[in-house]
Amino acid sequence: MKLRDNIRKINESDGHKQAELIQQWKDEASANLRAMHEGIENKLEDTPMAGYRQYDKAAAYEKITGEHYEKSGISWKKWAAAAVFTGLIAMAGLFFVNNKPITHYAAVNGVEIEHLNDGTDVTLDTGSTLDYNGSRGVAVTGRAFFKVSKKADKTPFTVELNKGKVTVLGTRFSVSSYPGTTEVAVEEGRVKYEYGGREVILNAGDWMKLSDEDIVSSPILTGNHFSWTTQVLEFKNTPLDQALQDISRHYHQELVISKEIKTAGKCLLTSKFAGENLDQVMDELKLLFQIQYYKSGNRYVITSMKC
C-alpha cells in the first residue's frame, strides 16, 4: 500500500521533486531496516531459551505421513557461506577431495541419531559434532557411535579425530575425541587406529585410549561401555568402583573416589538407570551406600561410603 502510494507520488511529480521524494523514501526505508535490526538485536539477547529443545522431526514426519523423511541437509552454497565467515574454509578444503558438499551435523541438546548417505548410522552425543564428506569420510569432535555399512567394493570408511584417524570396512564402534581424551572402542568387527606414525588394530571387545600420546589398549570389561547411546545403564552385582567408572563415562563427567576409601570394590550395586540425570543417580547412590561427595568444577569427589 505504502509502496504503491510512494510510486504514485513519484510518478506524478516533476524531476526535481522526484529526486527529493526518492531520497526521502530511501531514508525512511533504511530507518525502518535499522529499527528492525535493533529489534532483533535486543530481542535476541532477551529471549529465554532455557528448556527449548529439539524433537525427533524425522520420526514424527514418518509416523504422520507414512513416507520417508528425506533429510535435505545443508546445501553446499549455504555451508560455503557459513564457512567463509567463520574462517573454516581451510578446514573444509580437506574434505573436498571428492568434490561433494560437506554435511555438518551437531547434537545440540540431547543424543541424536544421524543417517548418512552411504547407509552408515551415527549416534552423536550431546555437544558433539560430525562433518560428513558425502561418501566414506567423517570428522568428529566429542563422542560418536558408528554402525558402518559395508560397501561391495570394500571402500574403507574413515573417521578423523582431533588426534589420529580410524579406518574400518563395516563394523560397530565408538570414538571419543575431546581435548585431553581420545578413545576408540569396538563392539563388532575390526578397526585400525593411526596416530603420529603408529597404528593399532582393534578387534571386537577391544578399546584403546591415548595416554600421554601413547596408545594403550585393553579389553572392554563392562556391559555399559556404549550405554550413552541408549541412555540405559544397568548394573548387576557390579563392584562400586567399576560402576562409578561406567557412570563417569556415561555422563562424560569426572567421578573420583578419594584415596582413603578402600571398600569401593566390596560394595555391590544392582540397579538400572534409564534417562536419569547424574544428580538423580548420585541421589540413589547416597540412599544405597550413604556416599558423601562434593563437586569441584567438572569433578565429583566421593569422600565416604558404607555397604
Binding site: I40, L44, G51, Y55, I64, H104, V108
Partner: protein, 164 residues
C-alpha cells in the same frame, strides 16, 4: 487450494519444533506436547486434498495446538477438577507468542551452525542456564573468553537470522 506435499513439508519443517515447545508451556515436558502437535499435522495431512487454503499458517497452527492442548488438559484434569473444584487455566494464544517461538526456533537452528567451542559455551549459557563463571571453571578457560565467545555467538546468530 489443496495443500500439496511440498507445502506440507515446508509447514512441518518450519513449525513442528516451535509448536512442540509451545505446547510444553501448558502441557509440561512430556509426550502429551508432541502428541498434540502430531495430531494437528496429521489432520492437515489427512485432509490435505480438500483443505481450503490456510491463509495464515502461523496463526492457524498455533491456535490449533492451543485448542488441542486445552482439550487434553480438560480430559486429564476432569477427575481432579471434580474432586477439588479447581479451575483450568491455559494462557490465551496471542500473535506475539507464535512470533516468539519462531524466533526461538531460528536461534536454536542457528546454534547448530556455530563453531564448536562457541556453540558449546553458548549452549551452556543460554540453554543450560550456567553462569559465565561456572562455564569458565568447567572448561578451564577465562571468564573473559566465555564472554567473548557468547558475544561472538550472538553476532553469528544475528547474521544467520538476517539471511533467513
Amino acid at each position: 487450494m489443496p495443500v500439496d506435499k511440498e507445502t506440507f513439508r515446508y509447514l512441518f519443517d518450519t513449525y513442528y519444533n516451535a509448536l512442540c515447545n509451545y505446547a510444553c508451556l501448558s502441557l509440561g515436558m512430556n509426550d502429551d506436547a508432541e502428541d498434540v502437535v502430531m495430531e494437528v499435522f496429521a489432520h492437515i495431512w489427512d485432509k490435505r486434498e480438500n483443505l481450503s487454503n490456510i491463509e495464515n499458517p502461523k496463526a492457524y497452527l498455533f491456535r490449533s495446538v492451543h485448542h488441542k492442548a486445552i482439550e487434553k488438559i480438560r480430559a486429564k484434569k476432569l477427575v481432579i477438577v471434580a474432586l477439588e473444584g479447581e479451575k483450568i487455566v491455559v494462557p490465551d494464544y496471542k500473535e506475539e507468542i507464535g512470533e516468539d517461538y519462531l524466533l526461538k526456533e531460528r536461534i536454536f537452528q542457528s546454534i547448530r551452525q556455530l563453531p564448536t567451542q562457541c556453540r558449546v559455551i553458548f549452549v551452556k549459557s543460554k540453554l543450560e542456564g550456567m553462569s559465565h563463571k561456572e562455564i569458565a571453571q568447567e572448561m578451564q578457560i577465562a571468564v573473559k573468553t566465555v564472554e567473548n565467545q557468547i558475544t561472538k555467538a550472538f553476532k553469528l546468530i544475528r547474521k544467520q537470522i538476517d539471511t533467513i
